[in-house]
């Protein structure tokens, strides 16, 4: 009886989550005429045309490549600077450490809208406007604090004796960090990377403000194409479906670490 009730709740909730997504997928396999002229729960004239357009038109598929480029750059930069900082916060106390930690976190709380214009001016003035690195750097403002926070939580769980034993065994700091410490917090690094990826992938405002042509993100492509050429709903739906896939893959790979990462209370 109890199992059934739980299953019911889950089925209803997941149905609620999946219906709009199903509708998007449904539409992505219809032509625009079909969508506008006949209302149907599944595609009557099943077509791949929308997907073919996206995969052959550079203005579409470049959007995906651009997005993935700056997302990966952002994840790498964020982790590279967050790792040593998180180690310092988890192991040492130093002047102003607590204030620094909160100040870092406070950046995660900044509304992107506040930064849109200043970022635009800053990156224009240093000649980085419309480059991947500009978006990647802009996103680090939100991702680095998050990565430091998550990693610090995982590192605190590794006993300090391990550091000391490694030094006694003759490891230098870098050897120890790479060969012993990193494997121990591997799932922490995974979770941090997941959140960096997630934020950078889903964000629109900054990536749209900081790019125009060469580094235009898929999100920006979608909003602009939509308004310029009149709405081709089928094409828009197909583009949307394709943006869901990387996220779904990422969740699938980290599903077992996520619960652990969340359990540490670090998001």
């Amino acid at each position: 009886m109890k199992i059934n009730k739980s299953a019911c709740v889950m089925v209803l909730y997941i149905l609620f989550l999946m219906l709009p997504i199903y509708w998007l997928i449904n539409m992505s396999f219809k032509t625009n005429q079909d969508i506008l002229n006949s209302f149907s729960l599944w595609p009557n004239n099943f077509t791949f045309d929308n997907y073919i357009v996206i995969f052959t038109d550079p203005s579409w598929y470049k959007g995906y490549l651009n997005s993935i480029t700056y997302v990966v750059m952002n994840t790498l930069i964020s982790l590279a600077v967050a790792l040593p900082a998180a180690y310092a916060f988890s192991r040492y106390s130093f002047m102003g450490d607590k204030h620094l930690f909160f100040w870092l976190l406070s950046n995660r709380m900044a509304p992107p809208a506040v930064f849109a214009l200043p970022f635009f001016q800053l990156y224009s003035s240093v000649g980085l406007f419309d480059t991947h690195i500009a978006v990647a750097l802009a996103h680090t403002l939100f991702n680095v604090p998050l990565a430091v926070w998550i990693l610090e939580g995982f590192m605190r769980g590794v006993p300090k004796e391990i550091d000391e034993t490694a030094y006694i065994d003759g490891y230098g700091f870098f050897g120890f960090f790479r060969k012993i410490f990193m494997p121990l917090i591997a799932s922490g690094i995974g979770v941090a990377a997941f959140f960096c990826f997630m934020f950078s992938w889903v964000e629109l405002l900054l990536s749209r403000t900081l790019t125009s042509v060469d580094a235009k993100s898929i999100a920006a492509t979608m909003t602009r194409t939509a308004s310029a050429s009149g709405l081709d709903w089928g094409l828009l739906a197909a583009a949307g479906v394709l943006t869901i896939i990387p996220g779904a893959l990422v969740i699938y790979f980290v599903r077992n670490h996520i619960a652990k990462g969340f359990a540490l209370g670090r998001v």
Binding site: R91, N107, V148, G240, R255, G265
Partner: protein, 290 residues
């Protein structure tokens, strides 16, 4: 863990510091700079002191946007937090295929680009081509989110619930996972009621993550921009113009840099203040928990 005092640790924090300083402090200085100046174009600025702040504080437009924002945040918190806890309590507990599947499906909305979330609901809610809009219309309900502000609100709220409840679910689920079986067994032996199990075992254990969930949902909903921008563009009229939408309109649309900058600073400080209160609460409860 006891930490050793080591001022050299500053060097390890330095890269983060430089990076964040570059992407936070410089832009913030620009904002501060704009907020106290006015311009007649041609990049000529002159000092106006706190005029912009006063203007914003007394502007009807800001008051309206703020009250819409507060209302929106309150409503979605009231729905998402209880719903998230409720769903988390029914997530499959054992590891296995079903629990993995549930986890992946539940987490899915979180990884969809925000503009696509807007698009999904834009399509889903349309009377002519969307399942939701079509169904509501065929039930005889006057539903058109581009013209009717109640419908617009309804769509935005249900969209946010759809988008973000899963975050609360996952957080609470992780919290619940960390409760040892012995607690449930002891409760059975004590003949505790379902409510008592929730009240005295589950709730205290998820209190920490729940605070984080509320903090995150508060912050993020207070900054919401992309989804309503795509869905309604802030309309009909100004019915769904929340703070971020208004700010972007002001700064990039109308290029009113002074008021926009003043607005930005107060916006940021407001969020920071509330978050600081939460953060303190959180750190305190963490200290108690361990």
């Amino acid at each position: 863990m006891k930490k050793t005092l080591n001022q050299k640790a500053w060097f390890m924090v330095l890269p983060v510091l430089l990076l964040v300083a570059f992407s936070a402090i410089i832009p913030l200085m620009t904002v501060v700079n704009y907020s106290v100046q006015d311009t007649f174009g041609n990049n000529e600025f002159f000092w106006v002191g706190l005029e912009w702040f006063e203007e914003i504080l007394h502007s009807e437009r800001m008051h309206d946007a703020l009250s819409r924002q507060a209302m929106f945040t309150a409503i979605i918190l009231l729905i998402e937090i209880p719903l998230g806890i409720f769903v988390a309590l029914h997530m499959p507990k054992n590891k296995g295929f079903w629990s993995s599947l549930c986890l992946v499906l539940v987490a899915l909305p979180l990884l969809i680009p925000w503009n696509v979330v807007g698009t999904i609901w834009q399509v889903f809610g349309r009377v002519d081509i969307g399942l939701l809009g079509h169904s509501l219309a065929s039930l005889g309900i006057d539903y058109n989110y581009t013209q009717n502000s109640t419908a617009a609100w309804f769509t935005i709220i249900i969209m946010d619930v759809w988008h973000w409840t899963s975050l609360v679910v996952l957080l609470c689920y992780a919290g619940l996972q960390s409760i040892p079986d012995a607690y449930y067994q002891a409760a059975k032996i004590d003949q505790a009621s379902r409510w008592n199990v929730f009240r005295h075992i589950q709730l205290p254990k998820i209190k920490g993550v729940l605070l984080i969930a509320i903090l995150l949902r508060f912050m993020d909903s207070f900054m919401i921009y992309t989804e309503p921008f795509v869905l309604t563009g802030g309309g009909p009229g100004n019915a769904t113009t929340f703070l971020s939408i208004d700010l972007v309109k002001m700064a990039i649309g109308q290029f009113d840099l002074g008021p926009a900058a003043a607005f930005s600073l107060m916006y940021f400080l407001g969020i920071l203040l509330v978050s600081y209160v939460f953060y303190t609460l959180m750190v305190n409860s963490e200290g108690q928990g361990s």
